[in-house]
Symmetry: C2
Subunit: 214 residues, 2 copies
């Protein structure tokens, strides 16, 4: 069966986004510092339609995380902004631009029903109002045997983690402090819900900690 | 000049002790899970007067952290319990037993003046009421050119970190969640105060992240 795979960059003090996330600053104040390690990598650049880039240990980790993914699940905040701010006639397509970097079906958990949004490049956003398990079932069907990426944000990740539905988690631990913002590990209790550390790859900029079911 | 060196075990969710720390449970509920990696190591056993034990990558990290230390600074809580619980006639010597594992002068930050407490094995507890910089100055004199260990707990570590007085920090990141307790990185802001990641040693049980001034 296809697995639910989660990867996220986290600061040393546990934050996965800075405070005051907005359309202008989707990562929150200071949140960009969590991702600076990924921007130069060849895998990241290719995903965003750019040539070149670095090939190193981190690049191979990112390559792996992008491989064999057939669908993505994300929360409404990660999709982009609050529905109250959506344009009344022109449908708000999140902050992903006209050609989002998914290139497969994306299932957005929301309380606001909405028709699917077909984007360029193979990405279609589906809006799921029936909850996390329904979203997972729909994503699983859409993935056609491939795995499902759990995109975040933190709140959605916490729900899937606490429910024991995450099969693989790749934490990119970045040696910085954010001091405030959104923490990943809140409301998930004192257990990793069946996940164990299975691989660590250390680089000067980031430590990759992979957790999976044994 | 002698350096102020700090090492601590931290859970994936940032806790360095569980909740409800007490004389019976000095590490708090669940806090023992942070330290299980260290108990089998030869360096730890020798420090506590026991022979044998494992020699592996983690053992070498612990060996290093115990080397060239001439004094230790700790907070009142780490020394042991609240002064209100101290015995009225028999001086409470913390939870360290008659032969504490320091074997050098230890400076306890407290608001309660008290005469030095001479223990077996070379450990003397000195009680410092003039604040963190005074404690550091006294420890530095006592260390006689060797380095000073910052013992914790979290609150004391935060004060020295935020003041930019820590020269080296070895984080033992343990792949567990505690869910609650005492977090290390609170009230220290969004900077590492001059420290940078200089070495990572990964093992299945723990990831050692060493920070130092470049």
């Amino acid at each position: 069966m296809s697995r639910l795979r989660f990867r996220i960059s986290m600061s040393l003090d546990g934050y996965v986004a800075g405070p005051y996330q907005s359309v202008d600053q989707p990562l929150g104040v200071g949140g960009r510092r969590l991702h600076e390690w990924v921007f130069p990598l060849a895998a990241f650049r290719r995903q965003h339609g750019q040539a070149g880039g670095e090939d190193n240990a981190s690049n191979r980790i990112v390559e792996e995380s992008l491989t064999n993914i057939g669908a993505t699940i994300m929360g409404r905040h990660m999709f982009g902004g609050h529905p109250g701010t959506w344009h009344p006639t022109k449908p708000w397509a999140g902050w992903w631009g006209s050609n989002p970097p998914f290139h497969h079906p994306v299932f957005v958990l929301t309380h606001h029903a909405r028709k699917p949004l077909v984007m360029e490049g193979g990405t279609t956003f589906h809006f799921v109002t029936e909850g996390m398990e329904a979203a997972l079932a729909q994503a699983r069907r859409a993935a056609g045997g491939r795995d499902i990426a759990l995109g975040g944000g933190a709140n959605v990740a916490q729900q899937y983690l606490a429910a024991g539905l995450v099969d693989e988690m790749e934490l990119h631990l970045v040696p910085v402090l954010l001091g405030r913002g959104e923490r990943l590990f809140e409301q998930v209790g004192d257990q990793l819900h069946g996940l164990e550390l299975v691989r660590t790859v250390a680089t000067p900029k980031v430590t990759h900690l992979k957790f999976a079911r044994p």
